[in-house]
């Protein structure tokens, strides 16, 4: 619950989606074969994967992993903090998770999920799942009342985590017996499955919250890792939970997450071998630096944290369709990728490309969002702005927002639109501009999400609070289309429908102009094996990798 710090830290956060990119002579990383098997065609062909036969590796227990991050999580409370998922999922577990690569449901605290009808979800808890053997839980078994308590806690907030399921679409939830938890929605709501698999729905013990007030720096969870120590601004220390319900996991004995805010220092510390992992984006210059270093592996890890361009569509100039279309196609997205990501990026649609299962194909996005300054000028002229257009753009002074605004301003200048960038302090920007929708056009980071409903609803329809979206768009057709997605429970059908809705949204050119996201890579030391068997929450559990013992 630290919005100001959270926004500032976003730029370097990573989605833990992993596919092996072979750089250098790194051999025997079995995860390469795992991920190649898990993913289908297209994207893998672009990677520089070497032809390594699938090698059966035996996990080795033991060892201490030293991991570096540039982001201080601020809070490890899964229900209340939106930043800390990659750590809080190690300590706490939700009922299930969705593997973002395969879209399979991965049972965690629950061993089974039934859906007798479209508005009823029943989780059967796994017997023998225990909270960690630490004060104040002392290894007691997790029961359905704990799930009720955790859901209550999330619902009560306040938190940036998306909890619309509980606050708006839940008819109620209860523990029908010690091992059965039932949730009923008040309407068909298919995102429920994705959202309850999010880290914010982790199961937490009441007695720990009552003792400590919150779980920001202390924890007693049911996850694979026990929190030993969290010192803000310094480190997080975890040790293996010997009673974890997946016997034998995790493999290492300890993890130490060092917080090194400066990405240059973090990269050098990783490169010199002091760390086993760093979340610094390994751009092509850094990859070049380590290409002949067999002790380092680089893994693709695109980030969900992208910068959005919001436009205010309920008043001139963006209330005019022609202006909206003009300024959308006036953005040279290839130039944007070149300048901001050194050429390593892809186009976003309304659902950003890292959410690959739900995102529009790249060739379609490139065609739909093709740069066309001549047409943009014609449209502006037709709309009465042939002599020029002045736009006010308050921009927060965090992350890449100023650079993005500058790049877009440069593109707009070529079509006769003058973007007046006003850099603002983050606190002022949030309260006076973004939340109040006081802008013609602005650039800001998105909130994290791992399923498509949240970006579509938040930015194009109901908004975060179900009252307005930032661009003040009020389009019943769009609302209806997005709500229509909730009726579809078959995953593949829903995917097709989500893609169709995005196509409609792109034609409307607003209230959000999707920009681009970097391709993103992170570095691991070669002693880390078996990196992630899945992605998103599944990857954040920290139960798949092991350390090669020399």
């Amino acid at each position: 619950m630290r919005p100001a710090g959270y926004w500032r830290e976003l730029g370097s956060r990573r989605l833990s989606r992993r596919r092996m990119l072979k750089v250098g002579a790194v051999a025997g990383l079995g995860a390469a074969s795992l991920s190649l098997a898990a993913c289908g065609g297209g994207q893998e062909e672009e990677l520089e994967t070497t032809e390594t036969p699938a090698v059966e590796l035996t996990p080795q227990p033991g060892g201490r992993a030293q991991l570096g991050i540039s982001v201080d999580p601020g809070s490890l409370d899964p229900n209340l903090s939106v930043v800390s998922g990659f750590l809080s999922c190690r300590i706490h577990n939700p009922l299930h998770a969705i593997n973002m690569d395969t879209q399979e449901l991965v049972p965690l605290v629950a061993e089974a999920l039934e859906q007798p009808d479209e508005t009823t979800f029943i989780w059967r808890l796994r017997r023998g799942v225990r909270f960690q053997n630490v004060d104040p839980t002392y290894g007691r078994e997790v029961n359905a009342e704990d799930v009720v308590y955790s859901f209550d806690r999330l619902k009560a907030g306040p938190t940036l985590n998306d909890r619309k399921l509980l606050t708006r679409y839940s008819e109620g939830y209860e523990a029908t017996d010690n091992y059965t938890f039932r949730l009923r929605t008040n309407r068909n709501y298919s995102p429920a499955l994705d959202q309850t698999g999010n880290f914010s729905y982790c199961v937490v013990p009441r007695e720990a919250v009552e003792k400590w007030g919150d779980l920001s720096t202390r924890a007693a969870g049911c996850g694979a890792w026990i929190l030993d120590d969290y010192v803000r601004g310094e480190r997080v220390r975890l040790r293996k939970n010997p009673d974890y319900y997946r016997a034998g996991r995790p493999f290492p004995d300890e993890e130490e997450w060092l917080i090194i805010p400066d990405t240059g220092s973090l990269w050098q510390t990783f490169r010199t071998g002091r760390l086993d992992y760093s979340n610094v984006n390994v751009d092509k210059f850094k990859r070049d630096e380590v290409k002949n270093d067999p002790s380092i592996a680089v893994v693709e890890s695109p980030s969900l944290y992208t910068i959005n361009c919001y436009i205010r569509v309920d008043r001139p100039p963006f209330s005019d369709d022609r202006v909206r279309e003009a300024l959308d196609i006036a953005i040279d997205r290839d130039d944007y990728i070149t300048k901001l990501y050194f050429g390593e990026g892809k186009y976003n649609g309304p659902v950003p490309w890292p959410l690959e299962y739900w995102a529009l194909p790249q060739d379609e996005l490139r065609s739909t969002l093709a740069y066309d300054p001549e047409k943009a000028k014609q449209l502006l002229s037709a709309a009465g702005y042939g002599d020029g257009l002045e736009l006010q753009a308050p921009v927060p002074n965090i992350g890449d927002c100023p650079q993005v605004a500058t790049i877009v301003a440069d593109h707009y200048r070529k079509v006769g639109a003058n973007l007046k960038i006003e850099l603002k302090d983050l606190g002022v920007y949030l309260s006076q501009y973004l939340y109040a929708s006081e802008f013609d056009i602005t650039f800001f980071l998105n909130l994290p999400y791992m399923e498509p409903d949240m970006p579509l609803r938040s930015y194009y329809s109901q908004g975060q609070n179900a009252d307005k979206n930032p661009g003040m768009s009020n389009d019943p057709q769009v609302d209806s289309l997005i709500e229509g997605l909730w009726e579809i429970f078959d995953r593949e059908e829903r995917r097709k429908a989500v893609l169709d809705v995005q196509r409609v949204l792109l034609k409307k050119h607003g209230p959000l102009y999707p920009l681009c996201s970097p391709e993103g890579y992170v570095g691991y030391s070669s002693r880390i094996k078996g990196i992630q068997e899945g992605t998103g929450v599944v990857g954040w559990l920290g139960i798949s990798y092991w350390l090669e013992q020399s």
Partner: protein, 314 residues
Amino acid sequence: MIQYILRRLLLFVPVMIGVSILTFTLMRIVPGDVAAIALGQNATPEALEEFREANGLDRPLPIQYLDWLAGLFRGDFGESYFHHSAIRDELAHRLPVTGELMIMSVVITLVLGIPAGVIAGVRPNTWSDYVTRTTAVFGLSIPNFWLGTLLILLPAIWFDWTPPFGRVSFFDEPGKNLVQFILPALAIGISSAAGVMRLVRSSVLEVLRQDYVRTAWSKGLPERTIIWRHVLKNGLIPVATLVGLQVGTLLGGAVIAEQIFALPGMGLFTLQSILGRDYLAVQAIVILAAVTYAVVNLMVDVVYVWFDPRIRYA
């Protein structure tokens, strides 16, 4: 002298009250609703109101101020709006880091700056003077963020070595602690040393022209005795002022050095608190900084007397 010190200590009280009022007012005037920042876009109007009520932000400003002041006298700085941790605990954790960095920086400043300044002052317009003055110009020109980055980058590239991150206390692992702090202390100390060097040089040049120094030469005293006992002692008065100011500034935190070397000190905490409108944290930090400046200034005044016994305070 004792009376002077007591009088200065008594003056702390109105100064601190003035600082507290100014800080409190300025933080409230700065735009940006702390409740909206804390709770984010998801916050309903009811939640915002609840937040304000829970943190006493809905009360009249004079009441908020008096409440805070009363807490201050009890040693209670309040709770962070974002971390829900006691600000006192946060300060207690960060002050030693900043304190150690400050001490090491000052030591480096003095160890590098004073001898260099003396050499330049005693041997004006010689090659040693030119070298030290040129080095001082570089030291003053180089931004400490660049120097700090180089101190990480160059050893990493040349020797495949970086300092160990993950702060340890000096009392637990003194060797590792010193290795962690020496580079940031150098990054800060080098530019300060350059300033001290130039000041010492000009002070030494001035003092060397004094009659008592000429007398000392004519008495046949060794050069070392003249320089270190007579010249330097009188030449260090302005240096005391400069170092005093540096100590006060550093105690507010060296944000850039802390960021580059991952030291959880006061600088980053201050920056985060200001940007997040964590009112109580900022107020506590400012009060602490004001007290530090006042105490350090007093110590500098006392040190003057040691340097020059002719100085007397009424």
